[in-house]
């Protein structure tokens, strides 16, 4: 954790109590929270923190590459603190639970040049969907 704060400080971040709390919330629970969930948990530690600041801080963490934004279904975006190890996501179609997974191979390699239409392709994001044990009929 202090790693994260140190890194941010090293990049010129002004270390306010609000930013510290948001970073701690994300780092403390290795799950995929929505902005509102982050706000709720942050409020428990710092009652006066505003929604705008949570959104700002999350946006900054994403820009700095410390947190990943995951758009799962067109609802609220989720924030993934596990930005430093490449991984993909497995989502339950029933309850929306998300797990980090590590498939074999490199999906980028599966896209032949003829299918790139002149794009400079830099990333491939894979989302697996299915039913988790609790949601299976």
């Amino acid at each position: 954790m202090s790693d994260l704060l140190e890194r941010l400080r090293g990049r010129g971040w002004r270390l306010t109590s609000q930013r510290r709390v948001v970073a701690e919330v994300l780092d403390g629970e290795h799950i995929h929270l929505t902005a509102d969930e982050v706000h709720a948990r942050a409020t428990a530690r710092l009652p006066e923190i505003s929604r705008a600041t949570v959104y700002n801080t999350l946006g900054e963490l994403v820009t700095l590459g410390e947190v990943l934004e995951v758009a799962t279904d067109g609802r609220a975006k989720r924030y993934d603190p596990n930005a430093h190890r490449a991984h993909q996501h497995l989502i339950c179609s029933g309850c929306g639970a998300i797990r980090d997974v590590h498939p074999h191979g490199d999906p980028l390699a599966d896209l032949p040049a003829a299918e790139r239409y002149g794009f400079t392709v830099t990333a491939a994001q894979v989302t697996y969907r299915g039913l988790c044990p609790d949601c299976r009929p």
Copy 2:
């Protein structure tokens, strides 16, 4: 096109002018429109069509498997009329343009049992990102 309308009719769809227009808009342009864009194009042909009907109709087409919903970025969902051939998407990080692409291999096969956590995994969706020729610096 009439194929699509026939299929829908065969499934008990009541064929209203509104539904016909929405289906024609999707079928006419093989691009990935947002609901509001579909509404704008539908309005050009049937001025009094309501937003609610466009949303209803798109939802029904998705449920029937005639159209795919694509959540690209947490903004508006896009609707992909190319539901009958498996494909993935390539998105320009600059302008947001989307292309259908057909990678090799099966991403499902790349997820080992040990990474499935008891889920019944049924689908893998791959999103490639990069810069299109027009957005490249």
